[in-house]
């Protein structure tokens, strides 16, 4: 096996304990709560007093009548087979609820995430190019301010101004509830705009910061000094050579940042009633739908772990200098 292949195999193997740890951690949480875990799972199945026969059936289904270590094995097995539990509020398997909501979140997260990466990185580079100038200060101050604005407040203010005050955009949902245009691309775009802008504003500062610090780091390296010495213009050094090298750190953190972007999406979707994972999370909180809450935690954690794995592997393909530790 080549060392690259070995690296990929080893990194993949290293992710497995992380995923197991998430599942086991979740299991421990259920069993640390006071009271009967089965009662917790069937909350909301209709009546206040749960039919003992039904409770027994649920216990058997999720192995809750067996000793703790057997339960753990059964639980991990269930999750790995894709059974994240059953939401009695919605009378639906948790995994189906989640998968149904993924496309809307992907649409929102990908459009605003990529725009934020591009705009943020460019602003970060400009701020290094104009280091110490007013433009640099302005970019830095704006990014600090934006960094301190919680995503839900950005959303609320956009909602107040553009939707309630100017009536330019719809206030909630992914498409109009009625009408000829319902569900047309234009209709969806109109609904997407405000959540997109809101999530973009909350994501941009982190990319400005990442780009700025990694470009600053690269500008101190020998090859940059050499390029300057042989007479390349500062713009050329920066945009052609330094930027290329500085983008690599942005790739490495991109996987980690998925967790950050998803967090922003929870709030943005909640404000705008965007029918994605975040809004589902909010609905699950309001109903105290524990199986769904747990499923969301496991699902998003696994997504981020996989994203980090993929970016790590991409990184060694892109940057030949990296040693496969």
């Amino acid at each position: 096996m080549t060392s690259l292949k070995r690296y990929v195999a080893r990194r993949t193997l290293e992710s497995i304990p992380l995923i197991l740890a998430v599942i086991i951690f979740n299991f421990l949480l259920i069993h640390m709560t006071p009271g009967d875990p089965a009662a917790l799972l069937v909350r909301g199945s209709g009546s206040a007093s749960v039919d003992p026969e039904f409770l027994k059936a649920v216990k058997a289904r999720y192995g809750l009548d067996r000793p703790l270590h057997e339960r753990l094995v059964a639980y991990v097995g269930n999750v790995l087979r894709g059974d994240l539990g059953y939401s009695f509020f919605r009378s639906k398997a948790v995994v189906d609820i989640i998968l149904e909501r993924v496309p809307a979140t992907l649409l929102l997260v990908l459009t605003s995430g990529f725009s934020a990466i591009i705009v943020g990185t460019l602003l970060g580079v400009v701020s290094v190019r104009k280091f110490g100038s007013k433009a640099d200060a302005a970019i830095q101050i704006t990014s600090s301010v934006m960094h301190s604005i919680p995503a839900f407040w950005t959303g609320l203010v956009l909602l107040l101004f553009f939707s309630f005050h100017l009536k330019l955009f719809p206030s909630s949902g992914i498409m109009s509830p009625v009408g000829e245009n319902r569900g047309s691309p234009l209709d969806v775009l109109q609904h997407l705009f405000l959540p997109f802008l809101s999530l973009f504003i909350s994501d941009v500062p982190i990319f400005i910061r990442t780009a700025r610090s990694s470009v600053l780091e690269v500008m101190n390296e020998d090859f940059v000094t050499t390029f300057r010495a042989v007479g390349l213009t500062e713009n050329r050094v920066l945009f052609k050579h330094a930027l290329k090298n500085a983008l690599l750190p942005t790739i490495t953190v991109a996987g980690m940042l998925l967790g950050f972007v998803l967090t922003g999406a929870v709030f943005t979707e909640t404000v705008f009633g965007w029918p994605g994972l975040g809004r589902t999370m909010y609905e699950a909180v309001i109903m105290r739908d524990y199986p769904l809450l747990m499923g969301m935690f496991i699902f998003t954690s696994i997504c981020v772990i996989v994203a980090v794995l993929i970016t790590d592997i991409l990184y060694v393909y892109v940057d030949p200098r990296v040693k496969y530790r």
């Binding site: 992380l18 917790l40 301190s148 839900f152 967790g259 935690f297």
Partner: protein, 289 residues
Amino acid sequence: MSDRGRLKAWIARSGILWREYGKDKMALFGLIIVITALAVALAAPVIAPHNPWDYSADALAPPSLENLFGTDSLGRDVFSRLVWGTGVSLTFGAVAAGLSGLLGIVLGAVPAYYGGRIDDLFSRIFEFVLIIPMIFLLILVMALFSSNIYFMMVVVGLTMWPWIARIMRAQVLSLKSKAFVEASLVSGAGGLRILFRHIIPNGLYPVVANITLQIAFAILTEAGLSFLGVGDPNQISWGQVLYWGQLNIRTAWWNAFFPGLAIVVLALGFTLVGDGISNTLNPRLRERA
């Protein structure tokens, strides 16, 4: 060096750093915000024109001279509630970030100092905590166990410490091989004594900068969790005021706008102070090579 000598040296170094910090206008602005918030929190009973819990018939009244930021759906004065909530939000940030800092310093420094298996184990734990999207875990834990605000402070603190530990670990690894540490080893000082009296104090500045940033992060997290409905309904925190306010956003914008603004300004204050501290300490960002 004697304790007194070290204290003097520390004060002298702090003096130099303070002069450097003072050159940064944004950092000073941040400090003014933080100090103002502290003053408001301490003088809340004097500043607040109304009792923050008092209902009145004047529900959802728009901002006026009587009610600067209007009233909420139960006729309570939003301005007074924000003034009283300042202390709650500051306490939240300080306790969560303080706990995170304490854990981060000890759990970052000790394994790094001894190295080997323990260090590997802790590095894996940091990786685990840093990788999972915390908001989902926080929501789950708050929904499962309790919405008590003190419980939330502890839980938020427990999720933040690995960020500090990672920085502390890097500091310890780089200081471990420095001459002054080897000198004290040769002079017969014991292991943990060297760590806690020589290494940690010398590597503490970047950690302090990050703890300050975490205060801002903790305040935003409390607001976020409250916004999603897992906050403590028995407390007047800014997050709670915002949560009750946004329910009426269509009819009374001031209910959600002002609490949000307060949260933004305070978080910005702590962020600017944290950035100021780290810029003061990091000469590479200050002057371009």
